[in-house]
Symmetry: C2
Subunit: 122 residues, 2 copies
C-alpha cells in the first residue's frame, strides 16, 4: 500500500467530489498535481490517444507521429503523465507501451461527479 516511490497514492486517497465540502489545502495540493499533469493540450491528446487505442495501450511510436513536436518533447510529456500517476509504462523489446492507470482516472471522475441533492440546485 505505502509505496515509498512517487506519490500517486496521495492523490488517489483524496477523491471527494468538488461540490461536497470545502477541499482541505493538503488534498488540493495532491489533486492539483494530477490536474496540472493533464491540463496541457498535448498531454490531453496523449491521454485520449492511449485510452482510445486498441487494447488500451500505445507505444511512443504510435503517438509521436500525431504531433508536430520533436520526439524528445513527446517523451517529456509522457514522463510527466507517468510520474503524476496517470500513465503506466512497460518496456517490451525496443518499444515502450503506455497505459492509463484506472485508479487515477477514477479519482478524476469522482472529483467532478455531481453531488446529488446539492443545495446549489434550486
Amino acid at each position: 500500500m505505502e509505496l515509498p516511490l512517487i506519490q500517486p497514492e496521495g492523490a488517489l486517497a483524496c477523491c471527494t467530489p468538488l461540490a461536497r465540502e470545502p477541499m482541505p489545502a493538503e488534498q488540493a495540493e495532491q489533486v492539483s498535481s494530477l490536474l496540472k499533469a493533464i491540463a496541457d493540450p498535448v498531454r490531453l491528446r496523449l491521454m485520449s490517444m492511449v485510452l482510445s487505442h486498441e487494447g488500451g495501450e500505445a507505444c511512443v511510436c504510435d503517438l509521436t507521429p500525431a504531433f508536430d513536436l520533436s520526439q524528445p518533447t513527446i517523451s517529456h510529456h509522457l514522463k510527466v503523465l507517468h510520474e503524476s500517476g496517470l500513465l503506466d509504462r512497460e518496456k517490451r523489446g525496443v518499444w515502450v507501451y503506455y497505459r492509463a492507470k484506472p485508479d487515477a482516472m477514477a479519482a478524476m471522475t469522482t472529483l467532478f461527479a455531481t453531488v446529488s441533492g446539492t443545495p446549489a440546485d434550486s
Copy 2:
C-alpha cells in the same frame, strides 16, 4: 497574465469522454484551458468552497479568510476562474458573488466519464 477572453462556448462544445476517441488538437486546446484554470491548489479550493457553500454561491469576503494569501491574489484567482468560464460573477451592492457555471462543470464531468462498454471498435 492576460486571458484571451475565450468563449466558454468553445469549451462547452467539446465535451467528449477522453477515452472515446483521440481528441482533436483544437478541442484539446479548449479543454486544456478549462483544466489549466482549475489545476491550481488555490483555485481548486475556491471552486470547492463556492460549490459547497450555502446557496451555491459565495462572496469574496467568504473566501479570502480561508487562505494565507493577499486579497489581490485571491481576486486574481477568481478572475482566472471567471474568465475561463468556470465561475459566474454577480455584484450585489458592495459585495461580489461567485457561482459555479453548470455547463463548464458538466463538461468536466463528461470529459472524465467512463465510456461504458469501452468498445475499442465503435
